[in-house]
C-alpha cells in the first residue's frame, strides 16, 4: 500500500541519508533535531508531563480507574514533534472549510424550513425525517444569522493519491459539541515553553486568539434584542470527560461556567442563580448534547439541562450554540451528500474531497461491503469517538464475521469506506522516533462571518500501525504549525491593521 509521511519523502527513513529525504517545510526542524543531545526528547517529555499534571490538563475515560482506584483523571498524551503544514496547503484548506461549513449551515436552515433540497430530490426524505438526530421541534424556528453550527470541528486526514502525493480528505463533520480545542491551545503553549528556539527559527502562525474569536462568535449569535449579551458555558459538570476544556474556555473568555442546576427559565426567559439574585442569560455555549438540554422536551430524567429551555430558545430569547438539531447534518449517513449540498446551496465546486463512501442502505453498496469487508472501514452511522467501527484489514476473521451479521441485520445503520492509508508523522514513542498515523481537526467558527485560527488539533494514533486517533482509544495530540509565507504574513498584518483602523474610526464618531 502507498504511504505518505508529512516529514519524510519515503519510509522507512534512513538516517544516514540525512536531509535528502526530508520534505522542504521540515528541513529546519530536521537540522535542529540532529543537533540535539540524545536524551533531550525524553527529558522534555518528562518536563511536559509534570507541567500538564500540575496545571491539571486531564480528561476522564469512561469506566476507567487509576492504579490507586481514586479517580479517572488521565493526562492526554502529548507528542513533542510538531505537525507542520506549509501556508499554501492551509490556504486551500481554509477556503474549503469555510465553504463546507457554510453549506452545512445552509442545509440545516433549509431542512428546518422549506426543505428545498428534499424537494429537489437530492437527498431521500426519509433519510432526514427518520433520522434520530432530526428534531421536528425545530421546524420553522428562526435562529440568529441563520447559523446552526457556530463551532464546527471538521476531521481531515491526508492520504497518498495515485502519484504518492498527499491529498486531504474530510473524514467527518462534527457539528454537535466538538471538543479538543483546549488541547490545541495548551499544546502550543507547551511547545513554546519547551522549545522557544524552534519558534524563533520558524514563522509559526499564532493561534492563541481562538478564545477571542469564539467569544466574538457567541456574542454575534445572541438574540437581536440584547445589546450587551451575557454569554455562559454550559457543562455537564466536573466529572465529564471534557470538563477541563469547558472550564478552560469559560475562563479564557471571562464568562460564567454554569451547570444545569444553575439555570432556570421563567416567563420565557432564561436566568442563572447568582449571589445577587437571578441574572438573565442570552447566549449558552452548551457542551451538553441535545438529549439532555431540556427534560420537558427530551430525556425527562436528565438533570444536566434546564426545564423549559427549548421554549425560551424557540421564542428567540436565548441562543443555544451549537443550535438544537445540528446532528442531522453531521450524521455519517448524511456525510456522502455534503459535496452535493455545496453545489446545491452555493453553486460552487467543492474544494475539499470527501472519502468515497458506500451506503449500506443501498442494495448494491451493501452487496459490495459484505463481499469486501476485510478491506474496508465500516462505521455505525451514529457511532462517535472511535466506538462502533471496524477497521477491516486490522480485524480478526471472527470480528469481520460478527460485523457482517450486524450490518446485514441493519444495513441503513452502517456506511463503509475504503481503508485510507492515513499519512504518518514522526512521533516520539517508547522505541524512539517513529512514524505514527495522524489526522487534523480544524475548528471553524460561524457567527456573522466564518473565522478560524490557522491549523487545528492534530491527533496521533500512538500504537504502531493503528488508525484510531481518539483520545478515548489511546490517541495523543501534536502541536500543529501552519508555517507562514510572505503572502499569509502580509494578509495577517493587513487584517490586524484594518482592525486598528476601524477601532480608531469608531472612537472618533
Amino acid at each position: 500500500m502507498q504511504k505518505f509521511d508529512e516529514m519524510y519523502t519515503q519510509l522507512p527513513y534512513e538516517f544516514f541519508t540525512h536531509g535528502a529525504q526530508i520534505r522542504d517545510h521540515y528541513k529546519i526542524y530536521d537540522e535542529w533535531l540532529a543537533r540535539q543531545p540524545g536524551d533531550m526528547m525524553a527529558k522534555r517529555r518528562e518536563e511536559a508531563e509534570m507541567i500538564f499534571r500540575r496545571v491539571g490538563i486531564t480528561f476522564a475515560v469512561y469506566g476507567d480507574k487509576d492504579e490507586d482506584g481514586a479517580g479517572t483523571e488521565r493526562l492526554i498524551p502529548f507528542d513533542l514533534i510538531p505537525r507542520i503544514v506549509p501556508a499554501n496547503e492551509w490556504r486551500t484548506l481554509e477556503a474549503g472549510l469555510a465553504q463546507r461549513v457554510n453549506a452545512l449551515n445552509r442545509f440545516l436552515h433549509d431542512i428546518y424550513h422549506e426543505q428545498e433540497i428534499l424537494k429537489a430530490g437530492l437527498i431521500p426524505r426519509e433519510q432526514i425525517e427518520k433520522n434520530a438526530q432530526f428534531r421536528p421541534q425545530m421546524m420553522g424556528v428562526d435562529v440568529p444569522n441563520q447559523v446552526y453550527s457556530q463551532i464546527s470541528g471538521i476531521d481531515m486526514v491526508r492520504a497518498p493519491d495515485a502519484q504518492g502525493k498527499g491529498e486531504y480528505y474530510v473524514l467527518e463533520d462534527n457539528l454537535r459539541v466538538p471538543s479538543g480545542v483546549s488541547y490545541m491551545l495548551e499544546d502550543r503553549k507547551m511547545m513554546m515553553r519547551l522549545f522557544p528556539d524552534l519558534f524563533s527559527m520558524h514563522r509559526v502562525a499564532p493561534i492563541a486568539h481562538y478564545p477571542d474569536l469564539l467569544l466574538e462568535t457567541l456574542r454575534e449569535s445572541s438574540p437581536a434584542t440584547t445589546a450587551e449579551p451575557t454569554v455562559v458555558v454550559l457543562t455537564p459538570g466536573m466529572y465529564n470527560s471534557a470538563y477541563f476544556e469547558h472550564a478552560f474556555l469559560a475562563q479564557q473568555m471571562g464568562v460564567e461556567l454554569v451547570e444545569g442546576q444553575d439555570l432556570f427559565c421563567k416567563d420565557n426567559f432564561c436566568y442563572m442563580r447568582t449571589t445577587r439574585g437571578p441574572q438573565r442569560v442570552d447566549v449558552i455555549y452548551r457542551r451538553v448534547d441535545d438529549d439532555f438540554l431540556d427534560p420537558t422536551v427530551f430525556r425527562p430524567k436528565s438533570t444536566l439541562g434546564c426545564a423549559g429551555l427549548l421554549d425560551v430558545y424557540k421564542a428567540g430569547h436565548v441562543s443555544i450554540c451549537n443550535g438544537v438539531g445540528t446532528g442531522v447534518a453531521d450524521d455519517k449517513s448524511i456525510y456522502p451528500y455534503v459535496p452535493k449540498m455545496i453545489e446545491f446551496y452555493l453553486g460552487e465546486k467543492p474544494i475539499l474531497n470527501n472519502v468515497p463512501t458506500y451506503m449500506c442502505r443501498n442494495k448494491d453498496d451493501l452487496g459490495y461491503v459484505l463481499a469486501n469487508m476485510k478491506d474496508l472501514v465500516v462505521k455505525e452511522v451514529h457511532g462517535a469517538g472511535g466506538y462502533g467501527m471496524l477497521v477491516g484489514p486490522a480485524a480478526t476473521k471472527a470480528e469481520v464475521e460478527d460485523f457482517k451479521k450486524a450490518v446485514a441485520a441493519n444495513p441503513s445503520g452502517y456506511i463503509a469506506q475504503p481503508t485510507l492509508s492515513l499519512s504518518s508523522c514522526p512521533t516520539f514513542v517508547e522505541s524512539g522516533i517513529a512514524p505514527r498515523h495522524i489526522d487534523l481537526r480544524p475548528y471553524v467558527l460561524s457567527g456573522k462571518t466564518v473565522q478560524m485560527v490557522p491549523g487545528g488539533l492534530t491527533r496521533v494514533a500512538l500504537k504502531e500501525g493503528s488508525l484510531v486517533v481518539n483520545s478515548s482509544q489511546g490517541g495523543g495530540t501534536k502541536d500543529t504549525w501552519i508555517l507562514e509565507d510572505d503572502r499569509s504574513a502580509a494578509a495577517r498584518a493587513a487584517q490586524s491593521q484594518s482592525q486598528t483602523q476601524t477601532s480608531v474610526d469608531t472612537s472618533a464618531t
Binding site: R53, G56, A247, E256, F264, K266, R273, T274, T275, R276
Partner: protein, 319 residues
C-alpha cells in the same frame, strides 16, 4: 457570581484552613508527646484531639483503643475520616476544580499541586518517616495558597467568599482548640502547688500557643510568664492576634459586608453582634461565667452564621 461558584469557593477555603489547623494541632501534640510524661497525660492529649474534632466516636468504632500512632494516621491519611488532612486537601482541590475558571491559574495550580503531593507523600510513607516535617509542609502549603490568593485574585466577590470561608473556619477551629486544651486541665486551672505540675503546665500552655504560632506573640504582648488566663485572652479577645476569635470575626464581618445582598441583613446583624461581644468582652467575665460554656455557645453561633451564609448566598433560591 453564580451561587454554586460562591459555595465551592467558600468551602474550598474552609477545607484548606481546616487542614492547616489539624496539622498545627497534630504537630503540637506530637512535639509534646516527645517530652517525658506519664502515659495518662500523653493519652489525654490524643483524646483531646479527637474530641476537639468530634471524631471520638468514629475513631473508636474503627480502632478501639487510643494510640498515638493510630490517632495520627486517622487524622492525617484516613480517607474515611472527612476531617483528615488528606480528605480536607482533596475536598479543597475538588471544590477548586469545580470552579477553576473563577480562580487565577496560580491559585488553581497551588491547590492542585498540594493535592498531587499529599497523595504521593501518603503513598511514599513520608509522613510516617518524619511527622514534623510533614506538618510543616501542610502549613507551608496553606501559607502558599493564602499568599497566592491575596497576591493574584481580583478583589471581587470571589475573593470575599473565599476569605469568608477561611475566617469562619478559623474562628471555629481556634474556639475548639481553646475549649479542649482548657478542658484538659480544668481541675487545676489556677495555682498548681506541685513543681512538676507547674512544669507540665508551662509545656501545656506553651504548646497551645505554639499551635497557633502564638508563643513569640505572647512574649511580645505580655512580656511575662505564661498564665492561662492570658493565653485565653490572647486567643479569644486580642484583635491583633491573627488566629484569635476576635480577629477572625472582624474578617467575617468585613467580608460579609462586601458581598451583602437583599436578604443578608439578619446574617450581618448576627455576625456584627458576635464581633461586638468580643470587642467589648473581658476575659475575667468570660472565665467567671465558665470558659467551656462560653465557647460552646460561641461555636453554636459560628455554626449558625455558616447556615445563614449558606441560605443567603450559596443555596440557589427556589423559583
Amino acid at each position: 457570581m453564580l451561587s454554586r461558584t460562591a459555595d465551592h469557593l467558600f468551602w474550598m477555603n474552609r477545607y484548606t484552613e481546616r487542614a492547616e489547623n489539624t496539622a498545627r494541632l497534630l504537630d503540637v501534640n506530637y512535639q509534646t508527646s516527645l517530652l517525658p510524661q506519664s502515659d495518662a497525660v500523653a493519652l489525654s492529649g490524643w483524646q483531646g484531639l479527637l474530641s476537639i474534632s468530634e471524631l471520638m466516636f468514629s475513631y473508636k468504632e474503627k480502632h478501639g483503643e487510643i494510640n498515638a500512632r493510630k490517632v495520627m494516621d486517622f487524622m492525617v491519611k484516613d480517607e474515611s475520616n472527612p476531617s483528615s488532612i488528606l480528605s480536607c486537601l482533596t475536598a479543597a482541590r475538588e471544590n477548586a476544580r469545580a470552579v477553576r475558571g473563577a480562580l487565577t491559574t496560580e491559585v488553581w495550580e497551588t491547590l492542585n499541586q498540594t493535592w498531587l503531593e499529599v497523595k504521593r507523600k501518603v503513598k511514599d510513607r513520608e509522613f510516617e518517616d518524619d511527622p514534623a516535617q510533614f506538618f510543616d509542609w501542610v502549613k507551608f502549603r496553606s501559607h502558599l495558597s493564602r499568599g497566592v490568593t491575596v497576591g493574584t485574585m481580583l478583589m471581587d466577590e470571589a475573593l470575599h467568599f473565599m476569605r469568608l470561608g477561611t475566617f469562619l473556619e478559623r474562628a471555629d477551629n481556634t474556639a475548639r482548640l481553646v475549649d479542649v486544651k482548657f478542658h484538659a486541665v480544668e481541675s487545676d486551672f489556677y495555682g498548681t502547688v506541685n513543681v512538676k505540675d507547674q512544669e507540665y503546665d508551662f509545656y501545656h500552655w506553651s504548646a497551645i500557643l505554639r499551635s497557633v504560632s502564638g508563643f513569640e506573640v505572647y512574649r511580645k504582648v505580655y512580656r511575662d510568664v505564661i498564665k492561662p488566663e492570658r493565653v485565653a485572652e490572647l486567643l479569644i479577645l486580642r484583635p491583633d492576634m491573627p488566629r484569635s476569635l476576635h480577629s477572625s470575626l472582624n474578617e467575617v464581618v468585613s467580608n460579609l459586608k462586601m458581598v451583602a445582598n437583599d436578604q443578608s441583613t439578619e446574617t450581618q446583624r448576627r455576625a456584627g453582634k458576635l464581633r461586638s461581644e468580643l470587642e467589648y468582652g473581658r476575659i475575667d467575665e468570660i472565665l467567671a461565667t465558665g470558659l467551656h460554656a462560653y465557647l460552646t455557645q460561641f461555636l453554636d453561633r459560628v455554626n449558625d452564621l455558616g447556615a445563614h451564609i449558606s441560605r443567603d448566598f450559596l443555596i440557589p433560591t427556589p423559583v
